[in-house]
Symmetry: C2
Subunit: 384 residues, 2 copies
Amino acid sequence: MKRLAILGSTGSIGQSTLSIVEQFPERYSVVAVAAGRNLDEAFAQTVRWRPQVVSLATEELAGQLSARLRQAGVTGIDVVYGTEGTVACSTLPDADFVVSAIVGVAGLEATHAAILAGKPLGLANKECMVAAGEILTRAAREHNVPILPIDSEHNAVHQCLRVGAHAEVKNIWLTASGGPFRTLPLDQFASITPEQALKHPTWVMGRRITIDSASMLNKGLEIIEACRLFDVPASQVRVTVHPQSTVHSLVEYVDGSILAQISVTDMRLPILYALAFPERPASTLTFDMASLRHLEFEQPDFERFPCLRLAYEAAEKGGAHCIALNAADEVAVEAFLDRKIPFMGIPRTIEQVLASTTEAHPATIAGVLAADREARQTARALLA
Amino acid sequence: MKRLAILGSTGSIGQSTLSIVEQFPERYSVVAVAAGRNLDEAFAQTVRWRPQVVSLATEELAGQLSARLRQAGVTGIDVVYGTEGTVACSTLPDADFVVSAIVGVAGLEATHAAILAGKPLGLANKECMVAAGEILTRAAREHNVPILPIDSEHNAVHQCLRVGAHAEVKNIWLTASGGPFRTLPLDQFASITPEQALKHPTWVMGRRITIDSASMLNKGLEIIEACRLFDVPASQVRVTVHPQSTVHSLVEYVDGSILAQISVTDMRLPILYALAFPERPASTLTFDMASLRHLEFEQPDFERFPCLRLAYEAAEKGGAHCIALNAADEVAVEAFLDRKIPFMGIPRTIEQVLASTTEAHPATIAGVLAADREARQTARALLA
């Protein structure tokens, strides 16, 4: 029985993780959930899963949850809050595995603490690896903690990497759906509206990641994530546009063999893989090979999607530049959704913030968070 | 340094193996070659590679080679012949690895002897596994001998099987190019000529295997081979038609993940994989991912390609039925190439021979060879 701490339990990945626990009660139980601001869902999860610890965003929300649990006659549950609360979840002695699925840099400290506490990690939080990948992977190596990627691309890469040695990897090929503007001519990019950008062809996701998909900045973050997770330089992480999102990524070996992973587009699959690794429990998430007909691939267009180029530049410089890329994008996407800047204002903002970022490699999470705040301020100042 | 015994050194796989040895002189040397009837090539190989033992098909050829070697001043080489000679190659004490690439059942005894002598095996001989797979895999298990498949499909499967456990495999998907008649309407199959059938869209191969590709009997043999090599029932070996021959095969796991192997269509790649396993040396056999555009898949048509159905039936019954399938096909293909029967006469002949085959599982190579002779006689009698 693997006892899970789920950071971000009320989000999409958190809920999918709980659906896996529901499906495999003989394999998994829940000992801690960090639930953020969704009080109703946090209450429901606590009643259903009876974790030892529940963390909420604030003291006030924690108080409200405690009161509701008392009313419902649910006792013996430790209700905590804030960053300290999330860390209490991720380092709970009884937790055998931590699912890190809090969006943004908010989950960073708890994720780092989990590694320091020696907890194997399922990582769904892209920003953690982008902003603090150097720190997290160093800590993971030192504490011999496996990090299992919970997103379809890196999970696919993780699988494909099992058929060869690290030194035998020539290139990692991340597939990209290409987003809603894959075929849009460059001269129409100026008039892209938030409504158009929010329509993703294959995945239903949060607002920022959907815009990041449209600008391909999301793929850029994944390039950086791949560099950190799999310890390869940016030049060895390549992108191929694959509109069907059927092949989730590929690994090319020096002997000429390329391994690819194919599956349905359902996040429960990488979650199950991460939870069960190295085993593969039988699931109902079947891809119908017999009805597979076409797979298409094309080269990414760096002119229409300058975010890709910016991400490669940040990946090569590492440290503060990766932090700035992520932070500037988040601010710029917000401005785009608020109709303050056009779609191509997103890469312009990022480029300007990167240009004013000095090369640095924060060695602590506090340093990362400071660089993140600084980049956000720079971006906001630029947009004001 | 891995010292190789190459059975079938003058054939296509044998020569490709030697080109790999040429490319990696620090990794491989040649200690034995079984060269068949090609005296000139056997002489050239002996001079070039200086093996300890060379085997030819007959005593006469062996005498001729000895004379030529003496003339050329090449001494200290043991020239042998016949089945005994091939076995001397495959069991040579100094050989660390045996490449079994003699076409047909002729290589069977030497391949079996190699396993009994504990030699790791690169197996390019499909008929060995089809006719004697039960005996060979049992011997390989007992003597703890790895068998590495040297054909693009099973080599791809071998790679894809490395990311999960045997019990976690749901289906093995062999890709098939579909051959030259993939899109030909059923009513035109009656008039197929040998010239049409000999034009394979992607691979250049021998005459029988090219006809077997056109009838898809070749894929049928591979189904049986997969059952034996990977210890799965025929129901778990599926076929998907993939005209580009870019994906060489796939493995579907019970959790829903499918792993696929992609590479150039060059036999040196599976040969190198087999020789170097579990390592992957850097090669120049690069697949250009950046220019990959389309991959197409379709379901096989059992009506136009009845050989597929016959192979599944033989695979399920095993033993003598697999032997009969292979033997009857070889006789029928010869008759088709001699214009004695039409193209669809190939599956008709096989079906009739299978119908008159009694269920049996020969436990010895002699028993396999007897069953093979019997099936050929039945086929010839039917066609007379």
